[in-house]
Structures are given as structure tokens and as C-alpha cells.
């Protein structure tokens, strides 16, 4: 039995709507929901949390029909992009807010708050008021507050979007560990694929209030079932075997070798990702700082707005690259043209 089952959900909130959304989440899974702005990702999250009554559909949690249950009885805590700490309470009382509802002694509350605070490294901040904290600290408090009640599900709506890249990185690894330690099932709405790569084991892609594809990150990114998903995730994937990993990692894929700055276990099977915009094209070979230089043939050219999407054949591998119209003209890009592609070893991400 799945932990969460959402069946044929429909809702119309004017600006946002959900149409026939069905979704299952297994216990201890980490599901990310991705999709363009206005696709209904946040609405779905808030409907699952119980903030909006639904027109039709059914939500089951651990076998129990919770469709009509008020939010406070669902055991799902939520984390928002803007932290949403209670400004009139200090950090300790923010984290303890949900615990006070449970039949816990003062000492137990204190212990639970201290445990999660150490885990998220905010134990020095417990007496502070929220407005004196940095964004990253505030969001760690919000996550602690949500996790400390050991929710049946943790719902997060773009939790890292208001933070800078370095803080995001740090929070991702903290969340990853905390979620594991508290064996929490997570639904995480994001527009940042890094969240997917570093946290998720399931991904749902939404468009216009519908879920268009759901699966493992690998399925979504490598086997998109529609042009929309392919365009939306838009990144290049390769499977290969790690040949060696010293100061640079070499991975063999079919007849070619690809270099990455990321560390990997020699002999391991890995999946690599290269963003289409990281690929540079040239007609003639020269001296380049990029480590990966490969011959390619243009298979397909598709104009989209002010850029061209190219489908390239690289020694039997299919790759997508995006270039500007000017660059395409300069290089004489059309279908059938042979040229070289290159990308830096640091643009190659090992994602699994």
C-alpha cells in the first residue's frame, strides 16, 4: 500500500486549477514536482495539505481517506519559500509549536527541539527572534519546526528559492540527512533541477494542472514520454562506466570518453548530465581549455524564440545543444552539417 494516494483530483481556483491529478507516493520516498510557472505545483501541494476543499477526487493517506479531513489532522507539515516563521515567537518556540499539541512533557519537548536543532545546526539560535536570522538560518528553523513533529509527510514549496546558491547547496545536504534520520516522506516543489538531482528519487512533471509524467529522475530525464517533458527537462544524459578518477574523472560511453571534474568510483556505472547551453560548437579544431571535444553531425534544427535547438549525433550518441540565431548563421548550421562540440569537464554532472 502506498503512503499517499491522490486520485482524479480536480479543483478550480480561478487562476490555478488541477485536472484529473493522480499520484502515489511510497513511504520514505522523496518526490520532487517540477514544471513551468503556473502549472499548479503549489496548488497540488496545498490541496494535499488540505488548505483548499476539492471539487472532485480522493486523497488517501496510509489507507485512510483524508479528502475531507482538516489540515491539522493530516500529519503533514509544510515549508514555504518565504520561511514563514512566527515573528512573535523565538526560534525555540517556533520549533516547539507543533510539539505543544502532543502529549509531551516539558523535558521531552526540550529534548526534541535540541535534537533537531543540532541536526540542522541552529542550536545556537534558539533564543533569537526570527527577524534577526539570515535567510538560510530562517529556513533551517522552518525545516526543523516541520520535521520535529515527525510528520507523515513533509511538504516543501520551493524551500531554497529565496537563498543564494552556496546556502542552497548547504541546505540540500542538511535536508538530505535530516529527512533520512527522521525517515520522512517528502513532496518538494521546485524549479531547480539541482534539487531533483541531489535529493529526489521520484519526479513528477506538471503542466496546465496535470501531471504529464511521473517516474524516477532517470526516467524523466532520459526517457521523457512527451515533447513537452523533453523540452522542459531539456538536458543531455549519458550512461557510462567510470574508467578512472584521479584529479579528473574519465568515463567511457560507447566509443568515446568524457571527462568530468566530479569524483566517482572507478568501475561504477553512472549517469551524466550536460546542459544544452553548456555545449559550444566549432567548425574547426584548435586549442581549447575545454576537456571534452567531440565530432558531431547536425541531425535536426528547431527554432524556438530567439534560439535554435540542435539535435546532434555524436558517435552514435544523441545530444541536444542550444545556440543563438547569430551563432548559427556564423557557423552555417543546417541539417547534415558536420562540426565539433566541446564542453568543460566542470559542466559534466554525475547524477547517479
Amino acid at each position: 500500500m502506498s503512503l499517499l494516494e491522490v486520485k482524479d483530483l480536480n479543483i478550480n481556483l480561478g487562476e490555478f486549477h488541477l485536472r484529473d491529478v493522480s499520484l502515489t507516493v511510497e513511504k520514505n520516498n522523496y518526490l520532487t514536482i517540477i514544471g513551468p510557472t503556473g502549472a499548479g505545483k503549489s496548488v497540488l501541494l496545498e490541496v494535499i495539505a488540505g488548505f483548499y476543499p476539492i471539487k472532485s477526487g480522493k486523497i488517501t493517506l496510509a489507507g485512510r481517506n483524508i479528502t475531507a479531513l482538516p489540515p491539522e489532522n493530516r500529519g503533514m507539515s509544510i515549508v514555504y519559500q518565504d520561511f514563514m516563521l512566527f515573528p512573535h515567537l523565538n526560534v525555540f518556540d517556533n520549533i516547539a509549536f507543533g510539539l505543544r499539541k502532543k502529549a509531551l512533557s516539558r523535558a521531552e519537548i526540550e529534548r526534541e527541539v535540541r535534537t533537531i536543532s543540532r541536526e540542522l545546526r541552529i542550536d545556537q539560535l534558539l533564543h533569537r527572534k526570527p527577524k534577526t536570522l539570515s535567510g538560510g538560518e530562517q529556513q533551517r528553523v522552518a525545516i526543523a519546526r516541520a520535521l520535529v513533529i515527525r510528520p507523515k509527510m513533509l511538504l516543501m514549496d520551493e524551500p531554497f528559492s529565496a537563498l543564494d546558491e552556496k546556502t542552497r547547496e548547504k541546505l540540500r545536504s542538511m535536508v538530505k540527512k535530516a529527512v533520512k534520520d527522521y525517515s520522512t516522506t517528502v513532496i518538494h516543489v521546485t524549479h531547480d533541477f539541482e534539487d531533483v538531482f541531489s535529493l529526489a528519487n521520484r519526479v513528477a512533471v506538471m503542466k496546465d494542472g496535470r501531471i504529464v509524467q511521473e517516474g524516477t529522475p532517470e526516467e524523466i530525464f532520459c526517457k521523457p514520454t512527451s515533447d513537452f517533458v523533453a523540452d522542459f527537462v531539456g538536458t543531455n544524459f549519458f550512461h557510462g562506466r567510470v574508467l578512472e578518477s584521479s584529479n579528473i574523472t574519465t568515463i567511457s560511453i560507447g566509443n568515446i570518453a568524457i571527462y568530468t571534474t566530479e569524483v566517482a568510483e572507478p568501475g561504477a556505472e553512472v549517469t551524466l548530465s550536460v546542459r544544452p547551453e553548456a555545449i559550444i560548437l566549432t567548425r574547426e579544431l584548435g586549442m581549447y581549455s575545454a576537456r571534452n571535444v567531440l565530432p558531431a553531425r547536425v541531425v535536426k534544427v528547431k527554432k524556438r524564440g530567439h534560439v535554435l535547438w540542435l539535435t546532434l549525433d555524436v558517435e552514435g550518441l544523441t545530444l541536444r545543444a542550444v545556440i543563438t540565431l547569430n551563432a548559427a548563421e556564423l557557423l552555417g548550421i543546417k541539417e547534415g552539417v558536420k562540426l565539433y562540440i566541446m564542453f568543460k569537464a566542470s559542466s559534466v554532472r554525475v547524477i547517479g
Partner: protein, 251 residues
């Protein structure tokens, strides 16, 4: 430009300060004791202050739920109700008094029931309370609407997710975060009630509240006596205003 603005601003401030100051400074302490603190004036002060406090409390009890519903629930006629709430602002005070009298005098069904419960409208303490509450409704409700609108509903969502029911969320999150608006609304309602005369003259001349007494003394004895009678009320009002504003911590 700034100099011009400052000059005009100064003009406006003196427009408030000069009359109040001349009232305070132009009255001898003997006069204040004789007319402002005689037994009739003290009783009228007591009536005015207690009635306005009770009116404010009644407005809190009924205004908080109304403002909460207006900000947290979407229903038909919400805008109409919001407009209705502001109506006492635009009705001349005398007309408000007449309306109350027509609707709730003891010959009307509701007025009959109320007067049998000891809450007669005409020339009674409860009449004063009703008048004060009526004219203060917009001040209280608008302040509370501002306050509740200023509390992000996502904060309430978070609290609900942490297991707090809607009412627990209201008491622990929404109301505390709107408390400044509640204080402001109460203060303004109280002050507005304390300053009402027009409607009182029509609905409840007796028991004589301080406003009515000042008016009556002005008509009967003239400016000098009315002025002395007004001073204690002025001092009490100003002090309360300053103290509450200070302690409610204007951020």
C-alpha cells in the same frame, strides 16, 4: 520645496496645538476644581468613560469575528458588508441618533424586549453605550480588517500543518500578530465614543455624560464654565492616548 512643506506642516500642527493649549493654559485651577471636578461633572465623567469602555469591549467581541470572516472567508455580499460597516462614518451624528431611536425605542418589538431586560435605549446608560458603539463601528472593524489582512495566510497554513486547529491558530498566531491593530482600533473606538455628542443629545440626554454636560453648560453658563468642565476630560483622553500608543510599541 522642503521649506514650503515644513511651513504648511507647522501651520497644521499649530491648528491642533494652539486651541488645546489655550484651553489648558487659559483656565485657572480654581475654575477646574469648581466646574470640572464638582460632583455633577465627576458623575458625568464616570458615565462617559464607563459607557465608552463598555461600548469598546462590545465592539471587540463582535468586531473581531466580523473582521476575521471578512478577511478569511470568501462569500457573497462580502463587499456589501464591508461598505455597510463604513456607513456610520458618513451619517450625520444626529441622524444616527434618530435612526437608533426609531429602530430600538421601547415601543418597537426588539426595544420592548431589551427594555424589559433592563436595557432601555431612551435616556439610559445603555442608550449611551449603543450610540457610542454605533459611531465607532467603522474605526474598530477597519482597524481589525487591516490587522488580519496583514497576517500572511501561509503562517496560518504552517500552524495548521503543525496540528493547530483553525481556532487554535487564530488565538496563537493570527490574533497576536494583529494585536497592534486591535489596540489601535480599540483606542480609536474609545476616543470616538468619548467625543460623541450629537447622537447622545437625541437618544440619551440623561444620564448626563460628560460631553452632554459640557454642551449644556456652554448653553447655560457660557464659554468660561464649559471650558473648565472640559479640562479633566481632555487631560484623561490625551494621557490615555499617549500611554497606549507608547506601550503598544509603535514599530
Amino acid at each position: 520645496m522642503i521649506q514650503g512643506f515644513a511651513a504648511l506642516a507647522l501651520l497644521l500642527i499649530s491648528f491642533i496645538v494652539v486651541p488645546l493649549a489655550s484651553l489648558l493654559l487659559g483656565t485657572s485651577s480654581q475654575e477646574i476644581v469648581k466646574y470640572g471636578l464638582d460632583s455633577e461633572a465627576l458623575y458625568a465623567l464616570y458615565i462617559g468613560i464607563s459607557a465608552s469602555i463598555i461600548a469598546t469591549v462590545l465592539l471587540i467581541i463582535s468586531g473581531v469575528p466580523l473582521a476575521y470572516l471578512l478577511t478569511r472567508r470568501d462569500f457573497k455580499g462580502r463587499d456589501l458588508i464591508k461598505a455597510l460597516v463604513d456607513l456610520p462614518f458618513v451619517i450625520p451624528h444626529g441622524v444616527a441618533g434618530i435612526a437608533l431611536l426609531v429602530a430600538f425605542n421601547s415601543r418597537t418589538p426588539l426595544g420592548f424586549i431589551l427594555s424589559n431586560l433592563g436595557m432601555k435605549l431612551e435616556d439610559s446608560f445603555w442608550g449611551i453605550v449603543s450610540v457610542m458603539a454605533f459611531v465607532s463601528v467603522p474605526l474598530m472593524v477597519d482597524a481589525l480588517i487591516d490587522g488580519f489582512s496583514g497576517v500572511d495566510t501561509d503562517l496560518e497554513h504552517v500552524a495548521r500543518g503543525l496540528g493547530a486547529s483553525e481556532s487554535e491558530t487564530f488565538w496563537r498566531i493570527t490574533l497576536p500578530l494583529a494585536s497592534r491593530s486591535l489596540v489601535t482600533g480599540s483606542l480609536l473606538s474609545w476616543a470616538r465614543g468619548m467625543s460623541e455628542v450629537g447622537a447622545l443629545l437625541i437618544v440619551a440626554y440623561y444620564p448626563k455624560s460628560i460631553n452632554v454636560l459640557i454642551m449644556e453648560r456652554f448653553w447655560t453658563y457660557g464659554l468660561q464654565v464649559a471650558k473648565a468642565t472640559a479640562i479633566p476630560l481632555l487631560v484623561i483622553s490625551l494621557t490615555t492616548f499617549v500611554l497606549i500608543r507608547r506601550f503598544s510599541g509603535r514599530r
